[in-house]
Amino acid sequence: MQVSRKYGVLIAMAIVVIAGIAAVPSPRKDYKNLKVLPKDISTKDLSRIMIDEFEDGLGVSCGFCHAEEKDSHKLDYASDEKPEKEIARLMMKMTLDINEKYFQVTHPLIGDSVLSITCMTCHKGQPRPRNPE
């Protein structure tokens, strides 16, 4: 009787652990070239950053930074062929630095709602920020 109760507890614990693991959004593991964004970022968080920060913030689409695959019209997301991608990395670092140094945001992350400064702050939907009037 005692043995079966132990098994019951163990099975219940295993169910809780498995359910917990299943509830956490699984990070995509085949990102090959993330240098500023967290390497274990989930597809959802990465997609949200691409849409909110870059598509809406700069008014651009994926091909603005991402090069095409060789012999294909599809995008090679890992490629660094287009210089715009490295500029985007520099801009993300700058944004994080500003938030940390001047707005006291600890451990700032691109896409985090606590950021005071985002891409949109300066770009306002344009690929290149306009000169201040």
């Binding site: 959802k44 008014g59 091909g63 603005f64 599809k74």
Partner: protein
């Protein structure tokens, strides 16, 4: 207590009466109701056809006889949750409700892309569940650029791409009309313009080659196949080549989404039509610094419902955008809004 920030009464008969719904939520929930008669397509905005109070056609409206009908909805963006519309599922369901309220169930529905906002499995699942409530024979899809994020459309193809070619393009015949679903979002050109690509163009040329010139053609894709506003990527770089294959046909209709507003243009034998979103509005071409989700004040809500007429002038070239035909009687006079 009256709170002017919120819409508490469905005064506009637009399906939006949920307490706490932000006044800037604007609309959505409309779709396009299309009728084929003698090979010619007529389209109507559903917000102006359905009286929500009685769940049927507005009093005095008489729909002409049709060979068959179908509906178009677009840009559902399931997963979007910003102030422009924090309840995109609710407005999609409202659109489906309008389809279900039509006196004749549409033979099928065309969804012209951006089913999801971030191409996530749970977003596609939610859309699928909602679309199951639509009273129709079948639902045909083409992807929007939001459906192919990160994986070049692999997940979209697994879910919706059965029996399609390449990135998900296909054609089918219904009641003598040839329907062509094109994909112009898997890559986009500089500036965000859509791209069809050589492989798809070659397929299209072959697909229509054997058809009689009297065959009515309906093309549907996400990004407009005409240059609505290239500065915002509202056009398709190689659409001219695609349309050249369709010039010999007597009746061609092209249905798109992407720009979240209704525009129509007639060019020779081809009628172009873009649909409203079921999620959130976007600014009219050139009226804002950039395209994107648009928050609107409540008093502008009516102007975003149903069919909108837009005059667009760019670089001294005036596009002849025509009003979408409406059926009205004296009892229910409707104005273009």
């Amino acid at each position: 207590m009256k709170n002017e920030k919120y819409i508490s009464v469905d005064e506009n008969n637009d399906g939006i009466d949920r307490a706490g719904f932000l006044k800037c939520m604007a609309w959505a929930g409309t779709g396009l109701f299309c009728m084929m008669s003698g090979g010619v397509m007529k389209s109507f905005g559903m917000s102006q056809l359905i009286d929500k109070n009685i769940g049927a056609l507005k009093k005095g409206l008489i729909l002409p006889k049709a060979d068959f009908t179908f509906a178009q909805i677009s840009d559902s963006h399931i997963g979007f949750n910003k102030p422009a519309n924090p309840d995109v599922l609710g407005t999609l369901q409202a659109a489906i409700g309008k389809i279900n309220a039509m006196p004749t169930a549409p033979s099928f529905i065309l969804h012209t892309g951006d089913l999801s906002h971030l191409a996530q499995a749970d977003e596609f699942d939610t859309l699928d569940q909602a679309m199951k409530n639509a009273k129709t024979g079948k639902i045909f899809y083409v992807p929007g650029e939001h459906d192919v994020l990160n994986d070049n459309g692999r997940q979209y193809l697994q879910r919706y791409g059965k029996d399609t070619k390449g990135d998900g393009w296909y054609s089918f015949d219904y009641n003598g009309v040839h329907f062509i679903g094109l994909v112009n979002v898997v890559n986009t050109a500089e500036g965000g313009l859509g791209v069809l690509g050589n492989e798809q163009l070659e397929w299209l040329e072959k697909d229509v080659k054997g058809l009689s010139s009297s065959t009515p053609i309906i093309v549907f894709a996400h990004i407009p196949l005409w240059e609505v506003y290239p500065q915002w990527g509202w056009g398709t770089r190689d659409s001219a080549q695609a349309l050249s294959y369709l010039k010999r046909f007597g009746s061609v209709s092209v249905l798109n989404g992407h720009i979240h507003q209704t525009l129509q243009k007639v060019e020779g034998n081809i009628t172009f039509h873009t649909a409203t979103s079921t999620a959130f509005p976007q600014p009219q071409p050139g009226t804002a610094p950039a395209a994107g989700p648009m928050k609107v004040p409540a008093e502008q809500l009516r102007s975003l419902l149903g069919v909108t007429s837009v005059n667009y002038v760019e670089h001294n070239h005036t596009l002849a955008i025509t009003d979408t035909p409406l059926i009205a009687t004296k009892e229910t006079k409707m104005e273009n809004q």
